[in-house]
């Protein structure tokens, strides 16, 4: 028996030694550009260009200042007019530098091509602005502690393929924040009237502190946008990552959708928005 055990032990050692051999793996981090661009109906195009970061556990202000790409050539074309956007400082949107137009404006049914050229790289994307769908009604429902919940109702147009995105902000806030489940696809309610109980979403995924309700007396801005399919897919995949990345029942190891062609990720999206100002009561 001892002999047998000794032999087993030797076989084990040999196999263990073999199994410890490591193979070379390709470098994991791939540098890429990140594009976030939008063109609203009756407004100029805006484009933010940054690059991605390796996975450090902490990001400091120096790294954050460095992500922005300041000297790209950013062009938007509607097929007839082509405009090169100008880099400007904008305090509303991180990283506080973006490219914006001054001539070309978005219009319902328009198609817009974005080109970003930088250091020999070219990124391209196309989007369109769908029809405006108005909200039929906006109201509040009382909740405990002097709070109210926003409710909205709208009618989907049966003849069109529609995607929607809903935002809110307090009047004094700089930017709109998407609601908790902010994206809708009319595939499942085509031609019907849809009524939504709206919860405010967190400003971004760096915080989980958010109040789903408004206080009585708040002045609330509600923005309701029609978006194209590529925009819906991107925003829905971002929402999935934010809401479900920490859920073991669901998990997320999915790359976000993108409509950027070339060495980049992100979104170039047209919006047909209507903004409503309401007093919470």
């Amino acid at each position: 028996m001892m002999n047998f055990c000794k032999n087993v032990f030797i076989i084990l050692l040999v196999i263990m030694a073999y199994s410890c051999k490591k193979e070379d793996k390709p470098a994991p981090y791939k540098p890429r550009f990140v594009v976030e661009g939008w063109i609203e109906k009756d407004d100029y195009p805006y484009v933010i260009v940054t690059h991605n970061l390796p996975f450090f556990t902490a990001i400091d202000s120096a790294q954050l200042a460095e992500v922005v790409i300041r000297y790209a050539k950013v062009t938007v074309s509607d097929g007839t007019e082509t405009e090169v956007l100008t880099g400007v400082t904008d305090k509303r949107y991180f990283p506080y530098f973006l490219y914006r137009g001054t001539s070309l404006k978005g219009a319902t049914g328009g198609n817009y091509k974005l080109t970003v050229e930088y250091a020999g790289n070219t990124l391209e994307a196309e989007t369109s602005i769908p029809k405006v769908t108005p909200l039929e009604s906006v109201w509040f429902v009382s909740k405990p502690e002097n709070k109210v919940q926003l409710n909205v109702r709208f009618k989907d147009e049966a003849a069109d393929k529609n995607y929607y995105r809903l935002y809110t902000k307090l009047e004094k806030a700089k930017v709109f924040t998407p609601t908790l489940l902010s994206n809708q696809n009319d595939q499942y309610f085509n031609g019907k009237e849809l009524q939504l109980q709206v919860n405010r979403g967190p400003e971004n995924n760096l915080t989980s502190k958010h109040d789903p309700y408004f206080m009585k007396g708040d002045t609330v801005m509600v923005k309701f946008s029609g978006i194209p399919q590529s925009g819906f897919e991107f925003w829905n995949s971002l929402q999935d990552e934010v809401l479900n990345g920490s859920n073991p029942l669901v998990g997320s190891t999915k790359a976000l959708k993108t409509n950027i062609k070339g060495p980049g990720v992100g979104i170039w999206c047209g919006y047909a928005s209507t903004i409503y100002r309401v007093i919470a009561q």
Partner: protein, 778 residues
């Protein structure tokens, strides 16, 4: 030495010394019920020859001519010592009396030799074996015990799957009294759906799958209840911090009895409040709730001396809740397994046994999610009917088995539903698939000589996906196929071969090969093998999975010293392995599953080591597996091979039991395994104020090493009419946090220029002590 030469040498060695021997064939039956006794040990008088009876009570043995004696023993029966006068080959039936002392005798000796079961490619587990390892929270469990054997990985904490030799949990065939059980686990893998009080024995095959089993690539877990007619009333009640159970056996007539085993947990009133309170420290905390029940009914009827009927019914259900509080999201899952079968076993003659079974399996699953007025979910359902008929014929050196198997499946893998406020979302017609299978099988277990025996079997299966079936075309139109229409079919052969060669009485070599085809697939959806992984049949675009397995091992007993052990090497390959390209959220769409799966190849190999001590006060076993399992998919990692999620480089289990006194016993279980492979972020980017992860190569990172120690102590009270026992157990003694899931949470603010990313782990179970009280009336 070259391989062919070695084989030849082994064959030559095999043909020796058959002179002056006669063949004795026998059937061992219970005296009262006439039920076949399997696993009875038959010894020749000299002790030179010994064997075990098979499931039909059959055995055969070569004995010297002339007057001889036998010893037939089984733990539940009084030992029989018949005297025989053998002039020529002989056939006889032996009857054993039930051992009424048995119930008072808790010691269940390690009886079955490794040379019998493992050479037939299975591990045999009996009810008594389950009690030798510490129970999780006081409950002994079958699947947990199987996980301690070599080559069988557990999926890590909170994972219900059994991962046999580097394959997925959906590649195991789990049969409970002949019915397929699709989801054999109650949630989180802590309990299987099999109440150990309703289990008599389990055969666990991981290589050389016999031809009577079909439909899965990897392993077979064949679980049987006691089908014997009970001869006396017996009532057992059990209570632990988790669950209460009640078991009853009632004889109605001398030939007819029924039994029930019922179990219900009340963890929502015991465990979860504590776990939730402990975990409630920060904003990212979650809330869990979970309970289950199961019911077993069975009835045994001895129609004549030769005909036995056994009917069995299983029903079980689970209800799980998981709330992510920071988003006010409530997740819920509930599912039910059901299985029913009726089996007629007829002993046509002493050499021929006919076995017929009609069975039903059902499985339902529902996953729901609610965020205030928004509700969404997905349901899944399976229904099977199966008929199997097999005939077993015992000839001198042959044991033949042949039969047919007919089954019909109905699957509704993903039926979504959603409601937002007052509006129900319209998902159109749910995916429904009908499929059926017809199989013929034939096998022979041929004993060439005392040293060499060979098993060869073949299974021929015709599979088809039939109507009624509706499919939405690319242009939005719907095509309908009626019931008579075959959409997709396939005919395939599955050979199985095992050669056993005894080097001497206590040492044997075994080579096994089998090729298997799997026509229904378990599509993995969640990050951690929750029951939401759903089943669907092969259809056009989702072909059957096919695999080959080779294994070669040496098996040894040191009967006097009371040890046994083996080393088994294996290699397997598989084609059409499946990975799902979406998450569970995609199931909320009424998607065509075939458009969202990747097909690839799998490959695994490894070495298994097992050493068991069977005698003495101190018993136990050590099992260790060194292995690799990898997959190659054109669409994943640019076609490079990546480790299977449950690849276990090392997997070690140590199970021990110490009998301190006739009343006290102590047991321990230590387990250690390489962590799961998972996909980790390698970079990130900023968009719309969010920090977004970019994930690296698929399954390129590892969870930390999993290890855990469980201890338990049991005490037997013995007070006349009824018996009772008390057990104390501690799960995860040194409170190791074994994470089941990692995620990454960014915190800080972009405007202030400080952002940190924390790696967060979800580990479910801290140290958990438990107490369990059991009482038996008879």
């Amino acid at each position: 030495m070259s391989k062919p030469f070695l084989v030849l040498l082994l064959l030559l060695l095999g043909f020796n010394g058959l002179a002056q021997k006669v063949l004795l064939e026998g059937i061992v039956l219970a005296d009262s019920s006439r039920k076949a006794i399997s696993g009875a040990r038959v010894y020749s008088k000299s002790g030179q020859e010994q064997t075990l009876t098979d499931q039909n009570g059959y055995f055969k043995m070569l004995l010297d001519k002339g007057k001889t004696g036998l010893r037939i023993s089984h733990m539940s029966y009084v030992e029989l010592r018949p005297e025989l006068l053998l002039r020529k080959d002989h056939h006889q039936t032996f009857y054993l009396k039930t051992n009424t002392q048995f119930l008072n005798e808790v010691q269940i000796s390690a009886e079955r030799g490794i040379l019998k079961s493992n050479l037939n490619n299975y591990h045999l587990l009996k009810a008594g074996d389950l009690e030798k390892a510490p129970a999780f929270l006081g409950v002994h469990d079958l699947i947990k015990t199987i996980q301690t054997l070599p080559g069988i990985g557990n999926g890590g904490e909170g994972n219900a799957g059994l991962f046999v030799r580097g394959s997925s949990s959906g590649q195991n065939l789990v049969l409970f009294n002949h019915s397929v059980v699709y989801n054999p686990s109650h949630l989180l893998g802590f309990f299987s759906v099999f109440n150990s009080n309703a289990v008599e024995q389990v055969r666990f095959y991981k290589s050389g799958i016999p031809s009577e089993y079909g439909g899965r690539l990897s392993a077979v877990i064949d679980i049987k209840s006691n089908s014997e007619v009970a001869d006396s009333l017996r009532l057992e009640a059990e209570l632990s911090v988790l669950a209460a159970s009640l078991n009853l056996k009632v004889p109605i007539t001398k030939n007819w009895s029924f039994s029930t085993a019922m179990r219900k947990t009340f963890m929502n009133h015991s465990v979860w409040p504590i776990v939730n309170r402990l975990g409630n420290r920060d904003e990212s905390s979650n809330r869990m709730s979970y309970d289950f029940y199961d019911l077993n009914f069975s009835s045994a009827l001895s129609l004549t001396k030769k005909d036995r009927l056994f009917a069995s019914l299983y029903m079980g259900g689970d209800d799980f809740g998981f709330d992510i509080r920071r988003f006010q999201i409530n997740n819920g899952m509930d599912w039910q397994n059901s299985a029913a079968s009726i089996n007629w076993n007829r002993m046509v003659s002493n050499q021929v046994v006919l076995d017929n079974t009609l069975s039903y399996s059902g499985y339902r699953f529902k996953f729901g999610m609610q965020q205030e007025g928004f509700k969404a979910g997905v349901q899944s359902a399976i229904r099977d009917f199966t008929y199997q008929s097999a005939i077993q014929v015992y000839l001198e050196q042959h044991q033949l088995k042949a039969g047919i198997n007919l089954s019909q499946h109905k699957f509704k893998p993903n039926t979504p539903f959603a409601r937002n406020g007052l509006t129900d979302f319209d998902y159109g017609i749910p995916n429904t698939y009908f499929a059926d299978e017809a199989a013929l099988f034939l096998s022979d277990d041929y004993r060439f000589s005392e040293r060499l025996s060979i098993y060869a079997g073949l299974r021929l299966t015709y599979y088809r996906h039939t109507g009624p079936y509706r499919i939405t075309n690319k242009d939005g139109g719907i095509s309908y196929f009626p019931r008579s229409k075959t959409l997709n079919d396939e005919l395939f052969l599955e050979p199985s071969f095992t050669a056993r060669y005894h080097l001497n009485k206590q040492t044997a070599l075994k080579f096994a090969y089998s090729r298997n085809v799997q026509t229904i697939h378990l599509i993995p959806v969640t990050a951690s093998n929750f029951p939401s992984d759903f089943w669907m049949p092969s259809i056009s675009g989702v072909p059957p999975e096919k695999g080959n397995q080779y294994s070669f091992g040496i098996f040894k007993e040191w009967a006097d010293a009371g040890y046994e052990g083996y080393i088994d090497l294996y290699a397997r390959d598989a084609e059409n392995a499946i990975e799902f390209s979406g998450g569970i959220m995609n199931l909320f769409d009424n998607l065509k599953i075939e458009d969202h799966i990747y097909l690839g190849k799998g490959k695994s190999y490894g070495a298994e080591f097992f050493l068991k001590k069977k005698k003495g006060k101190f018993t136990g076993y050590l099992s260790y597996t060194l292995s690799r399992s990898e997959r190659t998919f054109a669409e994943i990692n640019e076609g490079r091979a990546f480790p299977f999620k449950y690849d276990r480089t090392h997997d070690l289990s140590l199970v021990s039991d110490y009998r301190l006194s006739p009343r006290w016993n102590l047991s321990a279980l230590f387990t250690l395994a390489t962590g799961n492979a998972y996909t980790k972020p390698v970079s990130r980017y900023l968009i719309a104020g969010n920090v977004v992860n970019e994930y690296g190569a698929y399954n390129d990172s590892r969870m930390p090493l999993y290890h855990r120690l469980d201890l338990s102590a049991g005490y037997q009270f013995n007070t006349g009419k009824y018996k009772s026992s008390l057990s104390l157990s501690v799960y995860n003694v040194y409170n190791k946090k074994n994470p089941m899931f990692n995620y990454y949470m960014a915190r800080g603010s972009l405007s202030s220029g400080r952002v940190s990313v924390q790696e967060k782990s979800i580990a479910l179970l801290p140290i958990l002590p438990a107490i369990n009280y059991k009482v038996v009336f008879k």
